[in-house]
Symmetry: C2
């Protein structure tokens, strides 16, 4: 190595040593009689002390890449903010590996540049310590999870990424075939079918850190290519899989954040909807939703007839709950086609709220008792004939109030398994699928597939931390009869089954083991660890919201000759329509 | 877990235990009074002992997937070939998870099926113990290399796979963009540019197990998508990188094969050509090529005028070197446009061979001395005006004789670094590039870039084991002046540089560190570990030689509507031409 030490490791104990460091000029302070330079590498920053003659001789400027040799000396005024703040290097010799043009933005955590400028020169952007740290967190996260899986007997097996296009789900990215004119490969949206085939193949325990692709319109937290930690195992019950998920996450939180994650809470999907109004509830705060139908079952208030009524209480918030907030609440709930909320406040021992006059004393007493209403508490109520919709609307409002009332502790992690998901729902009277067709119904619910499919719950499970869905998965169907019934309920003909699931359904006929698995969205997990809401801050070379790379200028036009050998041509949209 | 033990772990010590095993029916032996079943999983095979009643009750057939409970008992006649051969399970209870259709080929290491049939039902093919073992070797190999790299401070960083198409090298796979009509992404042939950008970004030590793509006509050892263990590091000299390669491979050989690999031999490219006639010589046997120009410099033999003359000796092989072999030799060398070899044999103390009569006694004596010719040795000689071509031809013949004379020990591993590669060659008087344009010339050879570029050697290095190239890499240019000179020698205009290397050349202007790296072909390494010549035996779901997947039927036709939103259409070749 051209260096003997890195820029993050020298301490008081090294004083007197002669060392060689390599790195980039991060900051220059020219005091006239002496020049101080901060030298930066992946590991940290070390202060160099140079004579003005040396500084001028080498024309040192920002982002020049250097090697220096010198002696480690004590600083006269230590910098306690820096790991290496007790020492500096008395530079004896400098070798400039390469000079640098003037960077168009500041290479520091706080930068002034637009994101597209930063993405265009990502190689400079990535020199910022915050991004260096994020990529290290990402590497550490994957490494920790691999370690857990390999210690537990999982084999990493690579599945193909040039696969058959299926008409299901999100749009596939397509890849024209040169050797077979007129045909296309697809890039995988997930390795789902392949990992199930590996279980049928007897591989027993599989994992893969898998690149996946979805040609969807991008949102802030989506990328056209993304990474999934994908796991599947045979001869398991649900509990076996949950313990693997919990074990992986506990280890990752410990390894990356040094946080001891507690055992995961468990709630059914129905409980989540009822109590939190969300299928990924944030357990860091209470504000539980209460079902109030029982209290108002004999209500004379017209709006409360033939509807469900729910509400939550915000402790000590009555005085803060302003007219303006209530207007915002109404707007939020209108997205759910819900009536504006009704408020009941207890202020100076008095209950106030426009709804009060419509309620009986018994109803009011029951409400106060139900919520243990204290002075300065506020109740937020709403009603709707659709129970789930009412719950989801109030769930969204619950989040809003948690944040308004400052109830969210950013340093607390509340992990949760959401269990017992419905397999089918009903839309306009029609049965619709709510899960992939291979999700296994609970044994005791298989009968509902023949009686009332919407009552059938599955062995599916999501992992949620602080309201963020981190993984989802399920046990899979391995019984051909159950599989047939599911297809029947989906109104699939044999031809359609063949076209949609073809070789996979064939494979199921050859001794399929009971199996199940899950997949983690790596980007999202790293975003939690890195405390960022921007997915592009945890990916080395991300695409922008137009699915383009401003640096490499991808996608781009290619030569017609390249298209010709692929047997395709581009179509001018206007002319074609 | 539905099992308490797996099918590979029970021993004499477990006798008396009640266990539950899960697996597939591999073999049934019905002895009338008793039925023996081999139950197979990823971990091994365990013998079950059943009553005929149980066997019939469950209709057990090949590849049925079961759970059994029973007692571990001693076998009356142990099977020493099996790890579990001392015991069997006295089955008390059976649960058939799923039955199996009759597999169309035998699920055993020796199978009768054609490869395309096996690929079509790969989920059954992968149940064969040999393939289960190969995938485990593959997982172990990657895991070992990751461990080495992470212990040595390398960060795994993912680079994008939807990138810009470049007109260089092999053909790119293209991916049409939906959001930007008429444009395409390319799938990467390697992460080369991105890993160099990561060094410019200061990431210091990078690795990635990277999926790469080449749309080339397939050979037996090629796949359209393949996996590369890709490494790059900053502030290094060549020796630093070589030690990482050596360290990784030593650890992998130990972890996977329990082989202690010796320190790697080092030869220059020139030495390899001269002594072995190959840029990836197999060091497991001698048969060194000797340069004989000096001996024949005054030869009166017309064929030996104005040519280079080389040869090798095969010890004790004179009697075996038949007419038929010599015909084969001539055919092989004609591929190199070389004259059929000349043979000199020593048999019963006499030298024989048609060429003898053309040689002087002094030349003959020198030859005998040069090769230390003993009784029953044979010399194989040839000549050509092109030294490299002559060497390569004889190098190919050397391999043939090593195999004929049975000189190759399959259990020996001879690792080698090939160093000092030429950067430029000459073809029809024109200077042509022999390496990628970012390969760094040796410091003391930079001057040749201005005098005679074909004399300039680089800091490139290949790793070769037993004649197989496992990795290649180099230090990279970080000096803008050297880079400019290389482009000049390649006759690239500024516009061409911009079009071909664009943003990467810009990036080089911002303080590029000295850096270098390498990439391992994972498939090839696993082929060595698995002792197979067939790349499809070390990949879970490979493509066939038509780049197609017979199982998933990929590539396939897609709906016109899917093409329409991608702004492309397929072109009927006949009509279009």
């Amino acid at each position: 190595m051209l260096r003997t030490k890195n820029c993050g490791e020298l301490r008081k104990e090294n004083v007197g040593e002669t060392v060689a460091l390599c790195g980039w000029v991060s900051k220059v302070r020219n005091l006239g009689a002496l020049v101080f330079i901060d030298l930066r590498d992946r590991y940290g920053v070390t202060q160099l002390s140079l004579t003005p003659e040396m500084y001028e001789k080498y024309h040192l400027r920002s982002e020049y890449c250097l090697r220096v040799e010198g002696e480690v000396i004590l600083r006269s005024s230590p910098n306690k903010e820096m790991d290496t703040g007790e020492i500096e290097i008395d530079v004896k010799d400098i070798n400039v590996f390469s000079s640098s043009a003037n960077p168009p933005f500041i290479i520091a955590d706080k930068t002034d540049a637009l994101e597209d400028t930063r993405l265009k020169m990502r190689y400079l952007d990535l020199r910022r310590p915050i991004l260096q740290k994020n990529l290290q967190i990402r590497a550490k996260t994957v490494s920790s999870m691999r370690e857990y899986l390999e210690e537990n007997g999982f084999l990493e097996i690579e599945t193909p990424t040039l696969i058959k296009s299926t008409p299901e789900g999100a749009r596939d990215y397509l890849v024209p075939s040169r050797l077979k004119p007129g045909t296309f490969y697809a890039l995988p949206q997930s390795p789902q079918i392949y990992k199930q085939l590996l279980m049928i193949a007897g591989m027993d325990k599989y994992y893969q850190v898998a690149r996946c692709y979805r040609d969807e319109d991008l949102r802030a937290d989506r990328q056209p290519e993304f990474t999934q930690i994908d796991v599947e195992m045979s001869f398991v019950e649900r509990e076996d899989v949950l313990l693997v998920i919990q074990g992986m996450l506990k280890k990752a939180f410990k390894d990356v954040l040094n946080v001891d994650l507690k055992d995961f809470a468990r709630l059914t999907y129905a409980e989540c909807i009822s109590k939190y109004g969300s299928d990924k509830p944030d357990l860091r705060y209470t504000l539980y939703l209460h079902d109030l139908d029982e209290i108002f079952k004999n209500s004379t208030f017209a709006l409360f007839n033939n509807v469900h009524i729910k509400g939550f209480k915000v402790d000590g918030y009555a005085e803060h709950c302003s007219r303006k907030m209530q207007d915002e609440d109404a707007r939020l709930l209108s997205d759910y086609h819900l009536h504006a909320p009704l408020y009941i406040k207890k202020l100076n021992g008095e209950l106030t709220g426009s709804v009060i006059k419509n309620l009986s004393q018994e109803e009011i007493d029951s409400l106060v008792k139900e919520f243990e209403l204290k002075d300065n508490d506020v109740l937020v109520l709403d009603f709707n004939s659709d129970y789930e919709n009412l719950s989801l609307g109030l769930g969204a409002l619950r989040k809003t109030y948690a944040s308004r009332a400052n109830l969210i502790d950013e340093n607390v992690y509340e992990p949760l398994f959401v269990l017992d998901w419905p397999i089918f729902g009903r839309e306009n009277g029609e049965i619709v699928s709510l899960s992939n067709p291979f999700t296994r119904p609970k044994d005791e619910h298989v009968k509902y597939l023949y009686e009332d499919p919407t009552k059938a719950l599955s062995y599916a499970y999501d992992t949620v931390i602080n309201g963020i869905e981190l993984s989802s998965g399920s046990l899979r169907i391995y019984d051909a009869k159950v599989q047939e019934r599911i297809f029947e309920l989906l109104n699939l003909s044999e031809e359609e089954i063949k076209a949609k699931f073809g070789f996979f359904v064939d494979a199921l006929k050859y001794g399929t083991p009971p199996h199940g698995g899950f997949a983690f969205g790596l980007d999202r997990l790293v975003m939690i660890f890195a405390h960022t809401d921007n997915i592009r801050e945890v990916i080395a070379f991300p695409k922008n919201l137009q699915a383009a790379c401003p640096m490499a200028q991808a996608p781009s036009k290619v030569d017609d000759s390249a298209l010709k050998i692929l047997h395709i041509k581009t179509v001018d949209e206007e002319k074609d329509e």
